[in-house]
Amino acid sequence: METIEIKVNGETHTITADPNTPLLYVLRNELELNGPKFGCGLQQCGACMVLIGSQAQPSCMLPVSAVSGKDIRTLEGLVSKNGDLHKVQQAFIDEQAAQCGYCMNGMIMQGVSISEQEPEADERRIRERLQINICRCGTHCRILKAIKKSIAP
């Protein structure tokens, strides 16, 4: 067990954990965040994605010790202080881009990442970026639409 500092959604948290613990378990169980979800634990499905800087990354195999000092954002951190949704979040509601919604966290994280890194991305590129994200309900077309219309600055 070690004491580790991590910066999540603008706040610094000091946690005591096995340094090998994947970030996902720390976010869900120590910080009680619901955004990142456990999907596969193998970096194959994207349900657990978080933003590190502007990069969407699976958190299920990422040791918590490796992200100390980095800027981590989760779904919760996208909502402004006054409760307003991020434009990508809002687009998911506008397009009703969910069925069970379990994968939605990863899709929104990718959407935000694209909007910050390459807001000019075309549909082909968006699809490429979403390659890792699994949706089992088949809501892909709505999700693509939501991301396409919300990434522009």
């Binding site: 067990m1 456990f38 509601i93 969910a98 069925q99 919604g101 379990y102 699994i134």
Partner: protein
């Protein structure tokens, strides 16, 4: 953040035998101590389905709480039920809350399955709400001394000449205890201000914000974590465990062993994950049964003993076959495929004060309660199960198994909430799959291109081993416990096997024979059950027959239909796709069915080409007619989703196994359609408000499989009949 009651909403419910307590979606268990008397009623009470207040209660602020015995699975049933209630009571959807399946609280509506929730739950709520409106108007008339036709119901309030009262004021805190009756009017049919509209789902707001919504998000004070140590193979007996220095493992609390069931409980979740790994290496199993190996699925299935039965026999097949101009035969097959829920199954259980509480995403909390009671040998009246949404399940996934496992461990570790979540490899390798099937068709045509006979023989394992009959062997841990509930034999219930096995087309001479076998893998209900494979075979065969008759596939189908709704559905699809002009290397194909031959009509078209030498779906079109449409966007969403899911099954999905166990253990060894391969989709809804509504969540599965396969044939000129198409 821990859970607390929603403030001050339910005190009124203490009365009149209509019990509801602080179990909101994430109700606090603090009421365990505060309201023991009320809580006791959760165990003894079952709301009576005929009573209005079992479905609908008026809250203190005049808003409405709806009680459904069904579960939200991502199919959007909640919003549909809220809409029908809002319409009848002329109250905004935002002032309606919905309480999902919970024993002792909501009506017992069995299992959320078979696309029946609109037809059953939503219609019960509609009736209760329409009755409630009429009763409230009468009460208002009496209290305001006015005839009912001079009152105005608006915005959830009733207005007389001088005064306005909300529903709570009118009922003076009471609920409507009367039995529902046939109301004079359904606003859903006569006014339709809310029903039929694309009303947005309120649950999406919670999802995008990362609010507590899923079972996976529930946290209780002092909650501990658990994992199950799996055998290497279905048939295995736990011989020995090396338990040395277990106490030194970080966070270790308890090892729960009963027969060959082995669970571990730890303080932290990751500790449980690590210990699960370690214990798997420390267990010795005796393998009692290996899995079979075969070269060819068709031959293998035919080699299995089967219980054979003639299900339908119309006309004189032999005579028609003798007089035939053209005879055509084809054999199709589909492999085992999986639900593969995105979020592994999860449950929380607590055994406290001799009572067992379970939170889980089961599709049937009441049937599960009965089965768990038998498994644990405790009275049903000692168990309380609350349904909380999980990841989309598409049928009988391990939701019930994980609940049963959490319950077994809770009984051995009382006083603390135990959270158990399966790992990806467990979800993939231990879920009950949709069974492999074999479909043999033989038909004859006359010189005018009319089908004169059709003989269909199909082979299938069962499509339901749900814990619905109280048999603990249908719960995965049931098989491994000391008590040793025998693993269920396959075969059994045939209803799923022959679902949509009889073509909707008018056939004078038709025979259906089903062979029910007991296969090697654990199987149960997967979205549309046997209908997926039956429609796939029938609709591919229809295209093959159309070709023999030198007819256009649309025209050939319409020629054999006398059901106007079916014909309209196909004509709409034809209209949508008239401009489609496949390029070289591309093909266009269609598929059609009425789900269960009694629910929604669905026609699907696909344009298929190639990408990197693999079949690639470019575009799909769908038409759905589900009678009266309750939520047009929900209906579209379900149809689009069904089309994509079915396209994925059809193109690439297949459960693999070796002698020992399932080898499809993650998303690489069991690939599915991903974003770059997702086609464009267009769906048209045909709304028939003059008809009763029917469920539609499973309607697209079969037609899509056939549309894609028929299109691929057109693209290549060679017909693949064994799924998946890209092996």
């Amino acid at each position: 953040m821990k859970y607390s009651n929603k403030p001050g909403r339910r005190n009124f419910m203490k009365q009149l035998g209509s019990v509801s307590i602080g179990f909101s979606l994430f109700g606090s268990l603090s009421c365990l101590t505060e309201n023991e008397k009320e809580l006791a009623m959760v165990f003894e009470h079952t709301p009576k389905n005929e009573r209005i207040d079992s479905w609908l209660q008026v809250l203190e602020d005049g808003s409405i709480e709806i009680y459904t015995g069904k579960m939200e699975l991502g199919q959007g049933i909640s919003i549909a039920i809220m809409q029908v209630a809002a319409e009848e009571l002329n109250i905004p959807v935002s002032r309606i809350a919905i309480h999902l399946a919970e024993t002792g609280i909501t009506p017992d509506e069995g299992i959320t399955a078979g696309s029946r929730s609109i037809e059953t739950s939503a219609m019960s709520v509609r009736q209760a709400a329409a009755c409630a409106r009429e009763i409230l108007m009468e009460i208002a008339g009496t209290s305001m001394k006015l005839p009912v036709n001079e009152l105005v119901l608006e915005d959830g309030q009733i207005r007389g000449r001088e005064e306005v009262k909300n529903f709570h004021e009118l009922l003076q805190g009471n609920q409507i205890e009367r039995a529902a009756y046939e109301p004079k009017e359904y606003y859903g049919k006569t006014q339709r201000n809310i029903v039929g509209k694309p009303v947005k789902r309120p649950d999406l707001e919670k999802m995008v914000r990362g609010e507590t919504f899923y079972i996976h998000d529930m946290r209780f004070p002092e909650m501990v974590h658990a994992r199950v140590v799996r055998p290497p193979v279905y048939g295995a007996v736990l011989q020995s465990i090396r338990q040395e220095e277990l106490d030194l493992e970080p966070g270790f609390l308890k090892l729960v062993r009963s027969g060959s069931f082995l669970g571990i409980i730890t303080e932290g979740e990751y500790q449980a994950v690590q210990l699960q790994q370690k214990m798997t290496d420390r267990c010795k199993w005796y393998v009692t049964k290996e899995l079979p190996q075969y070269e060819n699925l068709t031959n293998y299935i035919k080699s299995l003993p089967a219980d054979t039965q003639t299900d339908v026999e119309n006309g004189n097949l032999a005579e028609a076959q003798q007089n035939a101009q053209i005879t055509h035969k084809a054999v199709y097959s589909k492999p085992w495929i999986m639900h593969g829920s995105n979020g592994p199954s999860c449950a929380i259980a607590l055994f406290d004060k001799e009572k067992l509480h379970i939170w889980c995403h089961s599709q049937g909390v009441y049937p599960l309660r009965e089965t768990i009671a038998k498994m644990l040998n405790i009275p049903v009246t000692d168990i309380h199960i609350k349904g909380v949404p999980g990841s989309g399940c598409y049928g009988h996934n391990p939701a019930d198994d994980v609940a049963a496992e959490a319950a077994i461990m809770a009984m051995e570790f009382p006083g603390r909430h135990i959270r158990l979540q399966w790992m990806r490899q467990e979800e993939h390798a231990w879920e009950p799959y949709g069974t492999a099937m074999l479909m043999e068709h033989k038909a004859t045509l006359d010189s005018t291109g009319k089908i004169t006979s059709w003989n269909y023989e199909l082979w299938s394992d069962t499509h339901s081993t749900r814990p619905a009959n109280g048999d603990p062997a249908n719960l995965l841990p049931g098989r491994y416990l000391d008590k040793g509930f025998e693993a269920p034999q396959g075969g059994g219930w045939r209803g799923g096997t022959i679902r949509n096995a009889e073509p909707l087309y008018s056939l004078d001479n038709f025979k259906l024979t089903s062979h029910s076998f007991s296969g090697p893998l654990r199987v149960s209900a997967l979205r549309s059950l046997g209908a997926y494979a039956n429609i796939y075979g029938i609709e591919c065969f229809m295209n093959e027959l159309a070709a023999k008759a030198k007819a256009d596939p649309f025209e050939f189908r319409i020629r054999h239909l006398n059901d106007e709704r079916a014909i309209n559905c196909l004509k709409e699809l034809q209209r949508m796709t008239t401009a489609v002009n496949p390029e070289s290397g591309e093909g266009f194909g269609i598929g059609f069915a009425r789900y269960k031959n009694s629910a929604s009509y669905c026609a699907v078209a696909a344009l298929v080409g190639f990408s990197e030498n693999k079949p690639a779906i470019k575009h799909m079109w769908g038409v759905i007619e589900a009678g009266e449409c309750i939520n047009s966007d929900g209906l579209k969403n379900q149809t689009e989703g069904g089309m994509i899911q079915s396209a994925s099954w059809t193109l690439m999905e297949q459960v693999t196994f070796d002698r020992e166990h399932i080898t499809s253990t993650d998303w690489y060894s069991y690939p599915m359609l991903r974003y770059p391969e997702i086609p464009k989709i267009e769906v048209t809804v045909i709304d028939r408000p003059d008809l009763p509504p029917s469920g539609a969540g499973e309607s697209a599965q079969g037609p899509t499989a056939a549309a894609v396969t028929n299109a691929l044939f057109k693209a290549t000129g060679s017909r693949i009949r064994d799924l998946p198409l890209s092996k």
